[in-house]
């Protein structure tokens, strides 16, 4: 396996093999949108399952118990409320405190009675009351404010580091995507949302940006000194950079997923419930989404953001040149131009691209899009099949 991945790394590095990350970016966008919509709808249908820490709930105190074994209480509550994880504490040595989600009066009475029976105490020894949230609105509010400040700072820092505001834009969209998917999957699975989940989310926040920055750093290296960032040459170099960091991204996510996965497996299957399960599910999904978005979404978004910016400027500058540009661009067939544009050895083609650039560039994104659209159906299908054939032969 290792040799395969190394060799794949070689081919990806010199560009003899290339995953169509930028070329087929619309497909990747579409997959993301579809996943978010489907999972999001399912999650909304289920509704969030907020833990006691956020909602508050009911509290039972069983006084004067002879045994402080917590499993009996846990079983009693789980029998009545299969979806929640009670918090059980021993107070002062002989009092058991059991906290559950908010119950109605009949449920409360049932559980109180069963607790009294289960621990062999009088019914009066079990007191019930309401307990407020530990994680109040103030903590959430402060956290959200913190996240907002963080995002603004990071966007500014990235814009400064990469000298490009669009890099921040692409990274923020990718981050948003990761958070949405993680939240949606969490909602669909229906685990209780606890402070552990929130911590998991915050970790994802950092991870997603981290991962994207590694990819963009390679993009920046590959596109250093390029003045025209709207044309196909730029897209080609971004494509190469994304491919060159592919092995890194895969290795990173595997390395991050291994411990998270083992915590998730042990947490969910051996322990059944609790902090470990909550935090590791959020992390697992978030890392997967973060890897996907940093590989497949962020580079394409970057190219598109550059094109949008280019189109606006181009239209303002030379509105009249657009048709000429389209004509000049016509012979250079979409994706092919992007790839060869990156090939300085093929002097003729790169010169042609360069010559075409001023007009093409100013004519802009619609030109590029129409070219891509024209080229797509004709060329993509067969090429993909040949590549598949080739890679399997290796």
């Amino acid at each position: 396996m290792t040799a395969t991945l190394s060799r794949a790394g070689n081919a990806l590095h010199d560009g003899t093999r290339s995953v169509p990350i930028v070329r087929r970016r619309r497909t990747w966008y579409l997959i993301s949108v579809a996943v978010v919509l489907v999972l999001g709808a399912l999650a909304l249908l289920r509704g969030p399952n907020l833990g006691i820490e956020f909602t508050g709930g009911s509290e039972f105190q069983v006084a004067g118990v002879s045994s402080t074994d917590q499993t009996a209480a846990r079983d009693i509550v789980r029998e009545e409320l299969p979806d929640t994880e009670p918090k059980i504490t021993v107070i002062g040595g002989d009092t058991l405190r059991v906290q559950t989600t908010q119950l109605d009066s009949t449920q409360t009475a049932t559980i109180a009675q069963e607790l009294a029976e289960g621990y062999g105490v009088e019914a009066e020894a079990v007191s019930t009351s309401y307990i407020g949230p530990v994680w109040g609105a103030d903590i959430t509010q402060k956290m959200l404010r913190g996240i907002l400040v963080f995002l603004v700072l990071v966007a500014a820092a990235m814009a400064l580091y990469f000298r490009d505001l669009r890099v921040s834009g692409a990274a923020m969209i990718a981050l948003f995507h990761d958070m949405l998917i993680t939240a949606a999957v969490y909602g669909v699975v229906g685990f209780e949302i606890t402070p552990g989940t929130v911590i998991g989310f915050l970790t994802i926040l950092g991870y997603s940006l981290y991962d994207t920055i590694v990819v963009f750093d390679k993009v920046r290296e590959n596109t250093a000194g390029m003045s025209d960032t709207r044309g196909p040459a730029y897209a080609g170099r971004v494509e190469l950079a994304a491919n060159q960091t592919l092995v890194r991204s895969i290795n990173t996510s595997v390395v991050a997923l291994l411990p998270v996965g083992s915590i998730l497996v042990i947490g969910a299957f051996l322990l059944g419930a609790g902090t470990l399960k909550d935090i590791s599910l959020a992390l697992f999904v978030g890392i997967l989404a973060g890897t996907y978005s940093s590989i497949f979404l962020a580079p394409g978004l970057l190219v598109d953001l550059h094109r949008i910016g280019g189109r606006r400027r181009g239209k303002a500058a030379h509105p009249a040149e657009a048709p000429a540009g389209r004509r000049a661009a016509a012979p250079r067939r979409g994706t092919e131009a992007e790839e060869t544009g990156d090939d300085p050895e093929g002097a003729s083609s790169s010169e042609a691209t360069a010559a075409g650039t001023p007009s093409t560039g100013s004519a802009s994104g619609d030109t590029a899009r129409s070219r891509a659209a024209a080229a797509a159906p004709a060329r993509r299908q067969p090429r993909r099949s040949t590549r598949r054939g080739r890679s399997s032969s290796r």
Binding site: M1, G9, D14, G15, T16, S18, T68, I88, T89, V90, I91, G92, T95, I131, G132, P133, V134, G136, I139, M143, R145, I147, F150, V154, A157, Y161, P195, G196, L202, T203, G206, Y210, I213, V214, D217, E221, E239, L240, Q244, N251, T252, V255, A256, L258, P259, S262, I263, I266, G267, L270, L271, T275, L276, I279, L283, E339, P344, E345, G346, R390
Partner: protein, 618 residues
């Protein structure tokens, strides 16, 4: 060679210092050799605070919620251990504190009395019964009283000079002398009170006698009496040190109407330069602002017996500033040559001292951990299995090079453990490890591995581009370094911002994130890179042995030569590299052409021209 060893030496010194610090702490300071555990894993103390109303009014949810927030702010200000605070049943606030209840936390919880602002009618030193201090018949000298501190200054329209800062006995001297001269009463009508709160009409003979007899050498004794005193009557109170005795008028503003109080650096009004001292800025809500403005302008105009007012917290006068200017808009500044610590302490007291309700400790009991021991055990086992898998994967990917990864992870683990042990044993930080923290740490350590992956992949890229192995390590490092720094900067920003702006569990998370990010940088810079550089001088790695993970043949380079000795003849090497690159490129183009012919419509990516790219970048 010796220069290369410096980072490793620094790391060794760091580890020795940490280890020695922990050892010394355990031996002398009663430290525990492991990080302390949080509420969910270790249990702690449960304190139930019961809300009291003195006037029989109902306790509403809103003020309970407000009280909960203030108490949690107070407790959280003491460190990063996670305390759980919730409202129980409507009138109780349940505080679950990890570990045993220490003195400081206990005080923070019990310090529940209301705060109030009262004008100072008179003040004496506690032992100065014979100083002839505060009698109503004193000469009228109100204007002169407010010149205490000509040094301060304000952007704001309002300002009080703090002559008698409580933390320092020295400053009290000024007030004592000023207070010997008092303004006569200029009593007018006073709203609900018989006279304005600052009026000398409050000064009855009994009060003067009380002022003389009250013993401030034991401030705690008088504290309770003051706390129980009705708001609409004058009272005799002491400062916390017992060095000053005040006769205070009725309450003018309740402390709960303070909206905010912050400490900031003081600037000189004329030059705008920092004076090196700190001030406290505070603002009041609408109602409080009006009452406060009335009091300050009256005191400023010399209508009171002194120009000072007292801030009473928990029955003690924590501060008694002189009015320098009236405060018409409810914003005021207290200055008085505070140090930063004094200023933020006062600001905290002003901000958190103002609970909307009074509380009484109803019970204080030990509580057990909410999670069984099995949870922590399983979590640790899971983490170890996961990290073992990471090591296996690294060996599969990077062969013997994974030794570097593994040892880096071990160093990271060791550093993390000892740093957290130190941080949890320092009382001011008091970090405690919760189960979520354990999971977060395991993941953080795994994320650390990414720095190595970024680095190794960069080195491999350089080898793919035809560099010698030693040169590839240096060159790859230069590039990987920037990527690692940039991406770790994001985590650091997240950690700092969330730590500063959040409370509770989020703050604990931010703390761990910051610690692990810094450690990640330390490990990569002080361990991974120096070790890798040392390794490439060996034959095994430098020659690119097939098992070394740096095998040029495996990385698509047919010419593995010149590695290791590359440093000596780098020019020759570069020449060779160029040749090799050109050769390979030609081969590649030929192959491509063949492929192109084979699959006629194949538009697969043309080869990127790496050597030329490098030229561009240089």
């Amino acid at each position: 060679m010796s220069a290369r060893r410096i980072p490793l030496m620094v790391l060794a010194v760091l580890i020795l210092l940490l280890g020695g610090g922990i050892g010394a702490g355990v031996w002398k300071g009663g430290w525990s050799p492991t990080p302390q555990l949080a509420l969910d894993l270790e249990g702690g103390t449960q304190v139930i605070l019961q809300a009291q109303t003195t006037d029989g009014s109902t306790i509403d949810r809103e003020s309970m919620e407000q009280a909960r927030q203030i108490i949690s702010q107070r407790v959280n200000a003491l460190g990063v251990s996670e305390t759980e605070i919730s409202i129980q049943g409507g009138t109780n606030i349940v505080v679950d504190i990890p570990g045993t209840l220490d003195q400081e936390t206990s005080e923070a919880l019990r310090q529940t009395a209301s705060m109030s602002f009262r004008p100072v009618l008179g003040a004496v030193a506690p032992e100065g019964v014979d100083s002839g201090a505060s009698d109503a018949g004193g000469a009228s000298d109100a204007g002169g009283a407010s010149d205490a501190g000509g040094e301060e200054a304000l952007e704001e329209a309002t300002e009080e000079s703090e002559a008698p800062a409580d933390p320092s006995a020295l400053q009290f001297q000024g007030l004592v002398s000023e207070d010997t001269s008092m303004a006569p009463a200029t009593s007018t009508d006073g709203g609900e009170l018989a006279y304005p709160a600052w009026s000398l009409d409050w000064l009855t003979t009994e009060l003067q006698t009380e002022l003389m007899t009250v013993d401030c050498t034991d401030p705690a004794a008088q504290q309770e009496a003051v706390a129980d005193a009705p708001a609409d009557e004058p009272v005799v109170a002491c400062d916390p040190d017992g060095t000053q005795k005040f006769l205070l008028g009725p309450e003018v503003v309740a402390g709960s109407s303070i909206e905010n109080a912050t400490a900031g650096a003081e600037t000189n009004p004329s030059s705008g330069q920092a004076t090196g001292y700190y001030v406290v800025n505070m603002s009041f809500g609408d109602e409080g602002a009006q009452a406060f403005a009335d009091m300050t302008s009256a005191l400023y105009d010399g209508e009171g017996s002194t120009a000072a007012f007292g801030i009473v917290l928990d029955g003690q006068v924590i501060s008694a500033p002189q009015v320098q200017e009236p405060s018409p808009n409810g914003e005021a500044q207290i200055s008085g040559e505070f140090t930063e610590e004094q200023a933020s302490q006062l600001a905290d007291q002003l901000r958190f001292g103002a609970l909307p309700l009074e509380f009484e400790v109803a019970s204080e009991q030990q509580i057990s951990a909410t999670l069984g021991e099995d949870q922590l055990e399983m979590g640790l086992i899971a983490g170890l299995i996961g990290l073992a898998l990471v090591v296996l994967y690294a060996f599969a990917q990077y062969r013997v090079l994974a030794v570097v990864t593994t040892s880096s992870l071990l160093v990271m683990g060791l550093l993390t453990y000892s740093v957290l042990t130190v941080l949890s044993n320092i009382p001011d930080i008091g970090y405690r490890l919760s189960l979520a923290g354990v999971a977060g740490l395991i993941v953080a350590i795994a994320f650390t591995a990414d720095s190595f992956i970024v680095y190794f992949e960069r080195v491999r890229d350089e080898i793919r581009e035809g560099r010698g192995i030693a040169a590839a390590v240096d060159h790859g490092w230069n590039r990987a370094k920037r990527t690692i720094l940039a991406s770790d900067a994001v985590n650091l920003i997240a950690a700092v911002v969330l730590y500063l702006l959040s409370t509770g569990g989020v703050r604990g998370f931010a703390f761990v994130l910051g610690v692990t990010t810094v450690l990640d940088l330390l490990v990569v810079f002080l361990f991974t890179h120096p070790v890798l550089r040392a390794l490439v001088t060996t034959r095994f790695f430098g020659k690119g042995h097939p098992m070394s993970g740096l095998d040029p043949a495996l990385l698509g380079r047919d010419v593995p030569a010149y590695a290791g000795r590359g440093r000596v003849r780098s020019a020759a090497e570069r020449g060779r590299d160029g040749e090799a690159a050109r050769e390979t490129l030609a081969e590649r183009k030929a192959r491509l052409a063949r492929e192109e012919a084979a699959a006629a419509e194949d538009g697969s990516t043309a080869p990127a021209d790496r050597p030329d790219d490098r030229e561009e970048e240089r």
